[in-house]
Symmetry: D3
Subunit: 231 residues, 6 copies
């Protein structure tokens, strides 16, 4: 079960209202790599995780993403100011000014509503953890793009906090991937020659240097190295 | 900020796996009147609620809806059994058997993914509370339809619990509506004759008995009565 | 069956073309609280309404909403002017300038296409009437937001007409709700203690003053008061 | 403005309830080639039609499609019977049994909600009329597929009526296309050699017998022949 | 099977970056009448085309549309410039600046993601060819709208090339339609009086001059004329 | 530019028609982890890939995925048989029987149309390659689920071929990831303490054994190991 506390996981503020930048921030509230997506992906994966260890991981991170969702929403709320005025917005969505009355909503920066099509879940632990690692990387990239487009030091600080939390999640997810023994989508599915073919379908030049590429297998020792600590 | 506890708000179990009924239950996980919709609607409305009293209400109920989401998901998870086998499903969505690997996903009973288009938020307190009351009523109706189609006593008990919680939410929401003084969408917007016209556009018969219907205004005393306690 | 007359239900005009404001008006043509949504919701509910009285109501209002749809569309058409030129649009959707050739289309102000996910229908009369009342309130709120953002006196007049018609619809819908005897989703579904619980899940502060909230029941006398006439 | 009469354009009935076939019929209510799509496409095109002759055509046909929508919806309503029971449905959508309470809804046979993405409008008369002719042909094809899958003589009769109305619409639309003088997308846009090239990109065999295909132009005399009356 | 060559079907370049115009061009990459839609429609229709002649046609054109997709994407890529900066965009979608990092994506000019709802396929050859002819006409119209809104001579040249290719496709598609003998949706489906009725549902004025319109039939000799070569 | 050859990349056949299994196979044609998704993701990523080496990789694999799309579509086409008959389908989508006339369409097994929301592209090479590796893993999982549910030896053989090709793609993608020097989303973004925090938000138990988890960095030597060849 979930509980809520009124304080944010990490306080946020803004220098002054900035409705246009609020539109950009919507991308991390209701967008394809945003916090609602992250929360719903981890929580969905927890629904069937049989191993208590992984279920706990998905719920720890998923719950933190709900906290991030609140931080992004409050930042947007402050940036929106106090007046519905579409002339303050120079690109992107304007439903904030027509329908939502400045209330942060579950849409992206262009106004596309959040959809569960963003959430990847397969019930296969290795596949889902890989999806999560890739998702964290994309979320980090979007925060970098957003960071380059705002001068407000408080918003920058919030973005940096959220961006670096993705790093911490990668640490947890890689450790988790390392715990997986070779089952599920990792088990060798009887490799045939087919998995060793190379089709050079785009000419000219041949991307692949090795004339005989080998199929790979996702296994513990690979991923342990996948989580090398920094020097 | 949110926190999570491993125990469910209310325990759930099932008599035996029932993949077909799991498909029906998906409606209340990822459907238009389901628990994710309810949670996201209340939480979204909390993002801008200025009055701490209403913000607390939205968060109390929204957090409970997240707990309901877990209960529905766990019920589906148990009903799904342990084998991907589309032949066990005789109607409705089958992505559970093709993509999700028995993991409860954010789709409805026909496989339509959850979308934020289900969430109604306007930033106007009276309008949003009315939307919430109407949403609770629809959720109750869907649970009634589901209740009629399952014999499993444990699933019935879970459905009854969730159905009756909607009742409790209505009590809270009506009390909240009563607290609103006449501002926002309630303020008289300068009624003209236009709001007193009646267009009898579908013939034959005239629905409306009163030849001169009067416009209405949503105000405190009306809603206090709207929340009459039962005898 | 439907018939059409060339004159609008209420004439509309504009002071001069205003492509940017046309984008805002799209919200009430193809948006989540717009006229197509309203028309389709009432007409859908009429498809199964067994009681001729309610079927007539849904068709009277639904048909009027089709008339409103025409008024909004013609207003957008006039505001769009005569030249596809995206530079005239400073925020929101631009398909009007790339695909639709200035033809009013079924999209919202950000370009999201109209979807039946906006329509709420359950086949339960009480639930559907509540949904309609809440929908009218939201439509009214959106018109208020739009009214604040335009100086054109003719567009203002059209918005006021449409806004006040929502008031008239509320009068009809409340009277309808009053006619419902306690069946469908109104019948007492055997209240248990569960519907009297209160979960205080967001800390600090406790929203709910009553330590023992009571479930509510939607019944005639409540709603008759729900439709108090103005003094 | 629109008006409504209680009688259907053409009466419908069914031999007996058939919930599974009701699901198939949903395709022509809320599907991509269904009656709501047709109605919304013609009505949308009428929003900007400057020539009164074409505006009248779009409104005549669009209004008739609304009448067809009612006929399809009533047929589904009768086929749905009186009991929410998903076991009566053996494939396709089941929201009718979980959310809509047997009320015909704006979804297709698999449960995908109706979307304005189905509607094609460009503000160019020739392009829009061609789209309408093609749409009528698709609607006819879907009715043929549905006709093959039902034995109920009353449903067959309704399908035949609707199918043949598409024929009548084609007669009107072709006559309309014939009235267009060479403007809009018909005007010669300065043909260059580029429009005479032929790329034979799929091997083996060359589809095109003429080594030097000529570009075409949509013009009056072509379309007059396009609407040859039957012998 | 498909193969790829690094050179474009036709070279493209731009005078200088123009992020706002890149947004408009997105309409023909990921929009409802764009190149991905065209490619997917022809390729989908090839999946079941039994007659090798038509299968070849669908694959010749479908493959060319993939080449057009590349040309449009590269044009957008060049127009996007080298810096994520939403202030360079004055209307329409901004995910290019928030999520896609200047990478051309499968969205339209307002940010709506490409959807298979744009693709029309019925498995009926006549219906599908008519849909293709209508689609080419719409694509041509959109290119005309885009052409009017750009001064860059290189972009204009690319648009003209693509626009005129639609002409060539119409030549191929009409020839194909001429090859169809009267089967599929062309066969006479037993015309009754119903297909000769005329409902004059929008008043005043009667669009249709002929008091007794005749149903039409799509047959060879009609379409051969439908593809008259230019003088 | 693309070219097409009539032969499939790898021949497919089926023992006998199996319309129900065709519905399951739709998941890999128009589903979230299917071949159209894979093709569109690689091709989209190629649109901006500046380094010729990576652009070639994306196009080699993307083009192969188009070939896989054809193989899956032809398998579905053969399984669909020759008669539109919804009674042959016992769960999942039935538009194949109502609208598509047995033509394989871009929808998933429940009838949800393909959407570009499935495609992940960020313009950041490391993030996009990680997304591709994760996507291949999911595609492999779905093929495993499908393989368990069919006895037809020819369909099994096709599934195995496609499944093992994902393995080969992983080999290529890992080699590619190894080529990336630390830029883009890999560059150290100034790690602060924030990225070293651990929030234990789901109780009881603490997933993470290391009281002080370290942020990770995606760098060459890690990924080289990520692509260990099999013994």
């Amino acid at each position: 079960m979930f509980e809520h506390k009124k304080n944010l996981l990490h306080p946020v503020k803004v220098e002054k209202p900035n409705p246009q930048y609020a539109v950009l921030m919507q991308e991390q509230l209701g967008g394809c790599n945003g916090e609602v997506k992250a929360a719903m992906q981890y929580i969905s994966q927890s629904f069937r995780a049989k191993d208590k260890v992984f279920k706990d991981l998905f719920l720890d991170i998923g719950t933190e993403e709900l906290c991030h969702m609140e931080m992004v929403a409050e930042t947007i709320n402050l940036l929106n100011g106090d007046k519905v005025d579409a002339t303050k917005v120079t690109s992107g969505e304007i439903e904030t000014m027509t329908t939502f009355g400045l209330n942060p909503a579950l849409i992206n920066s262009s106004g596309h509503p959040w959809t569960a099509d963003y959430v990847t879940v397969t019930g296969d632990l290795a596949a889902d953890l890989l999806a999560d690692i890739a998702s964290e990387q994309r979320a980090k990239v979007v925060y970098e793009y957003l960071h380059r487009q705002i001068k407000d030091p408080y918003v920058q600080e919030t973005i940096m906090f959220l961006l670096e939390r993705e790093e911490a999640h990668n640490a947890l997810l890689c450790e988790a991937l390392n715990k997986i023994t070779d089952d599920g989508s990792n088990r060798n599915f009887g490799m045939s020659e087919d998995s060793r073919l190379y089709f050079d379908l785009s000419k000219p030049r041949r991307y692949f240097d090795d004339p005989n590429p080998q199929p790979v297998e996702i296994k513990r020792d690979k991923h342990s190295s996948c989580c090398k600590k920094k020097k």
